[in-house]
Symmetry: C3
């Protein structure tokens, strides 16, 4: 049975893979490299979560994630010139992915018996760590560490989940729907109004203990 959750997951995987394949393309990766970076962006976060929760990495349980990444690869390959026209759509798809992956990460962590603070962290890992893996593979400083309200949207959603749940305000599936919608909305508002966390300031002098 194809549920809404499966459709949303496919959309989110597709969008994450698109972002990885595009950035790899700009660095002149070959077809294999671009596809692998797309896959790593799509599954990196969830895999880091599952390894730490001692679960089977989710991408090994169904070929759908590699297939969605393959479709993303074909899209970039054949419709490269249309990508900027679709930018707004892919942005929405990506925000859907961030929202869904956050909820999945939280649910899986709580189901494994961990407390809320671990679940919130894992929701953020699930939603945002794929982008970090992507940027490491293309040898760039991870973007989510320098700008944007990307990972913070996930964390805000996690806090909302925690508060709603511990106060018994709502149960499943409303808990998940409200959390996911919150992440999605915060991401959209953050992009539109350019939410930014402050940037750290450089240290003034040289740091002799750099090597510690």
């Amino acid at each position: 049975m194809i549920t809404i959750s499966v459709i949303l997951e496919f959309i989110g995987t597709f969008a994450a893979a698109i972002s990885g394949i595009r950035l790899a393309s700009n660095k002149h990766f070959d077809w294999f490299g671009a596809y692998v970076v797309g896959v790593a962006t799509a599954i990196g976060g969830g895999t880091l979560r599952d390894i730490q929760l001692d679960l089977t990495p989710f991408w090994m349980t169904s070929p759908i994630y590699l297939i969605a990444s393959g479709l993303a690869f074909l899209w970039v390959l054949f419709f490269r010139n249309t990508l900027n026209r679709w930018a707004q759509t892919f942005f929405l798809f990506d925000a859907i992915g961030l929202a869904l992956f956050t909820v999945v990460g939280i649910d899986k962590s709580l189901a494994a018996g961990y407390p809320y603070w671990v679940a919130i962290a894992m929701g953020c890992v699930t939603g945002a760590a794929g982008g970090v893996v992507r940027d490491i593979l293309i040898n760039e400083i991870p973007l989510i560490f320098r700008k944007d309200f990307y990972a913070m949207s996930s964390i805000c959603g996690g806090i909302i989940y925690w508060q709603l749940s511990t106060h018994g305000l709502v149960g499943a599936p409303y808990l998940q729907i409200i959390t996911g919608s919150s992440v999605f909305l915060i991401r959209l508002l953050g992009a539109h109004y350019q939410f930014r966390l402050p940037t750290m300031r450089e240290m003034e002098e040289e740091q002799p203990e750099r090597d510690t």
Copy 2:
């Protein structure tokens, strides 16, 4: 009992470590750093596989991998000037490693109960991911993503294994021997005739959704 498989594994580990230690040397790593990069190149792929299959990382089951890497270190240290003369030999050793690691990765995944598509991916991870770990540690874009038919040789071998096995054409150990030989040959032919996957093309315009 020292089997052919053990000898081939030693050769492959040695060659992988040589490649890591050489590249680390060119970046002026110290002895410790060069050795660690050699080890990481040699064991990185298999460790990523075992962690995802929830098995004990293979390098922790026998000191032979750290020893083979240590011999590779000594070789680079003392016979540095002969390395180019031996380049052809190390290339063959490395291709042997790629072939063997691919077969081991496939076999271990199937033994753990995973389907063929996971096994083919894991064969490729086992054979090629060590080079990715190496390039991340020396802060370079992973080479296998940009040129050469390295990882693709492993995937071609995996497809051959899958086809032979599902059609019941051959069983062990011929299945493994044919697969390994195929990877080895494709790698050699690919290097000789310079097989290349096409390179992705850069996007024309700026990408406003870079940060998604």
Copy 3:
């Protein structure tokens, strides 16, 4: 009960996080990015150890590590200008962390049934790999691979532990105290007298097999 070990662990975590947050600050990471790099520096090594030993990642068992990293973040944020004045203190804290993490890594590995050579490697991973994760996240060549006697202090301590233990010279807790003190002292002496491992020399000619 707050034991000395818990206090030392807090100090070591704090110092590791400080180093990550400082370096991230110099690369203009935002608050979230700086905090995450701090956390990754503090917990990266132990997490790599626990995943390979198939144990629950230690940072998921108590919020103290994220809290210590949070305090480190606040320190850098508010007392940035005092950081150089405190450099010596943070260096000592970091050396305490290296010593403690080495001992914890060795003990956990032996308790999991692994031989001494695995335990020594895991002691070093626990103590030093966080710095490697940090440098990968800020897109720099890992510092411990290029200078200083940082990881080697951990390995020397591991060898001391092994010799004392196999010859039955001392038992717990003296074994742990002597090992930790040795790591601490070697690190201090190494920094003061500038112990350095030799640097690998670059290869003379081009390397045609770079891509193997």
